[in-house]
């Protein structure tokens, strides 16, 4: 019997459960997995990890502007926070909307608000998507972490 690593085991289980919904996957380094899915699959995937791999901890959510779309990475830690599953997904920039994962992971509240504030991604179902970082008099619809926003004098 050949032994497989924890990383390979998780990828195998994810592929069994989600088949072709996993668009891309790789083991970047020991304890670091990257998985790319459609934005509809994020919620079922988080639910699956929560039920089967004891996911309780979210490290953060990274948003990156790629021009046409905004890439979101959910940095999730499983197995008692020892292994990181980085779930990537894309949301179109003209309609950046995705379902909130706060119901599944309450720790994500502030991270979703941060991404909403700086990149304008709308997390539907979030209990309180208020301003978190930007000042109250900051103009609506201006998102400083997007690439088309330039600092004055640069």
């Amino acid at each position: 019997m050949t032994t497989i690593s924890r990383e390979e085991f998780i990828l195998k289980e994810l592929k069994l459960a989600f088949n072709d919904k996993i668009l891309e996957s790789r083991i970047a380094a020991p304890r670091y997995i990257y998985v790319t899915v459609n934005k509809e699959t994020v919620i079922p995937l988080v639910k699956f990890l929560k039920e089967n791999f004891g996911l309780r901890h979210i490290v953060t959510i990274t948003g990156t502007d790629f021009g046409e779309y905004i890439e979101l990475i959910y940095h999730l830690a499983i197995y008692g926070r020892t292994l990181m599953v980085n779930v990537k997904t894309k949301v179109p920039k003209d309609d950046p909307e995705i379902e909130s994962i706060v119901k599944l992971l309450p720790g994500a509240t502030l991270y979703e608000r941060e991404v909403h504030d700086l990149l304008g991604v709308v997390f539907t179902g979030h209990p309180n998507l208020e301003r978190l970082i930007l000042p109250d008099d900051w103009p609506e619809g201006v998102y400083p972490l997007r690439k088309d926003w330039k600092m004055e004098g640069t």
Binding site: A28, A29, R31, Y32, Y34, R56, H57, I58, V59, T60, T62, T64, I73, H75, G80, R81, T82, M84, N86, L105, P106, G107, T109, L110, Y111, E114, D117, R131, L132, I133, L134, P135, P144, L145, M151, T154
Partner: protein
């Protein structure tokens, strides 16, 4: 029912703990807490995108004045991962030493601040006097007391000579003796106990669900430490204990940090004994190849994460930073519920935010339609007087 707001020092949420707490009170008791961040958001993540990879090291070092070493360590490891190289063994050990020196200085600074919050000024003076010893050692190694600028992409900048080794070992002996004494003070001194025991309780399941990190999580009996869970920079070769306590209150958070100082002292001794010979730097290209990497390190306040993306150009495409205090804000909001106004300083201090930014506190008494602003020092004064007059006893 009345509400009051506390802006606890405006800075980037991921960086200098800039937040405002909007409290909802029932008389003296806190019913609900809402955080608001970003008063002095410096836009460092955007700033990283405008600077070169090497400039990024020094910008990341300036994110936090106290725990600057884990920031550069994390950034450098992330860029080295993009290059797909491991730095020389000696550099990895030197990184551990400088990180642990930083942890000792941060924890002792915090212990002093806690003494001050509790009105125990003698304790604060003594702890800060001994903290100078660590700063002197950092200065001996790097020439700088606070920001050592030790890390570079590919290794470390300064080596430790045998003479420095002696000085560090001597310093560690002194600090061990002093820290053991402070531990006995914490354990036996009623001034500390009465203000910390059973205050700000955060039970284990709440700490897990709210994703608490670092000493806050460990004080709630959660066995989590990035140095164990996800070893970086040869931490897996150094034996040390994971400190946890199950009291879940402010007192446990004090004990976790005091014990961690003792652990750090042993880690430094172990590293000096095992210090491999060889180069301290591997020369790498200034621009890493395209790719992405995620790295976690254990900063004094908990888990710190960097996500770095390169598109092969001379600036990073994206640098995402998540610092431990942001992760602990939901936890501190939970801790505050059900306690008195007078407990606010001790509870907020117990997650170790940067207090230099704490300026003023706005109170709104809804029932009486009255508003007033208290500075942090006024709140502290109120809290001390409240306890002097008997408090809840």
């Amino acid at each position: 029912m009345s509400t009051y707001k506390i802006p606890v020092g405006p800075q980037h949420p991921a960086i200098k703990e800039a937040f405002q707490f909007n409290f909802e009170l029932d008389g003296e008791i806190i019913v609900n807490v809402k955080p608001r961040l970003g008063f002095v958001h410096r836009g460092i993540e955007k700033g990283m995108e405008l600077r070169s990879w090497v400039q990024g090291i020094y910008l990341s070092e300036r994110i936090c004045g106290i725990c600057n070493v884990p920031h550069t360590t994390c950034y450098c490891i992330a860029v080295e991962k993009l290059h797909d190289v491991d730095v020389p063994k000696r550099a990895q050990y030197l990184r551990i030493i400088i990180n642990e020196l930083n942890r000792i200085h941060s924890h002792l600074l915090w212990l002093g601040v806690l003494g001050m919050e509790l009105g125990f000024l003698t304790f604060y003076m003594y702890v800060w006097r001994d903290r100078e010893r660590v700063m002197d050692l950092v200065e001996l190694i790097s020439g700088n007391r606070v920001t050592p600028s030790m890390n570079f992409i590919g290794g470390v900048v300064y080596d430790i000579t045998p003479k420095m080794e002696m000085a560090i070992k001597k310093g560690m002996d002194y600090l061990e003796e002093r820290t053991k004494y402070y531990k006995s003070v914490v354990l036996n001194e009623p001034t500390i106990k009465v203000r910390t025991e059973n205050i700000g309780v955060l039970n284990k399941s709440a700490a897990t669900d709210l994703c608490a990190v670092g000493p806050v999580a460990r004080a709630s009996d959660l066995k989590t430490d990035v140095r164990f869970d996800d070893p970086y920079s040869s931490y897996d070769e150094i034996p040390f204990n994971l400190v946890t306590y199950s009291y879940c209150d402010v007192f446990a958070r004090v004990l976790v940090r005091v014990d961690e100082v003792l652990e750090s002292i042993n880690i430094i001794r172990e590293c000096l004994d095992k210090l491999p010979s060889g180069p301290i730097m591997k020369k790498l290209k200034r621009t890493p190849p395209p790719g992405e990497s995620t790295v976690r390190v254990e900063a004094p306040r908990g888990e710190l994460m960097y996500y770095v993306k390169s598109d092969g150009k001379e600036n990073p495409y994206r640098v995402k930073i998540r610092t431990p205090t942001l992760a602990n804000i939901p936890a501190v909001c939970e801790m505050l519920k059900g306690y008195h106004i007078a407990d606010i300083p001790a509870i907020i201090a117990s997650i170790d935010p940067c207090y230099c930014c704490t300026e003023r506190i706005l109170f709104i008494d809804k029932a009486r339609n009255k508003r007033w602003i208290w500075s942090h020092s006024q709140l502290r004064k109120y809290s001390l007087e409240w306890y002097e007059n008997g408090g809840r006893r």
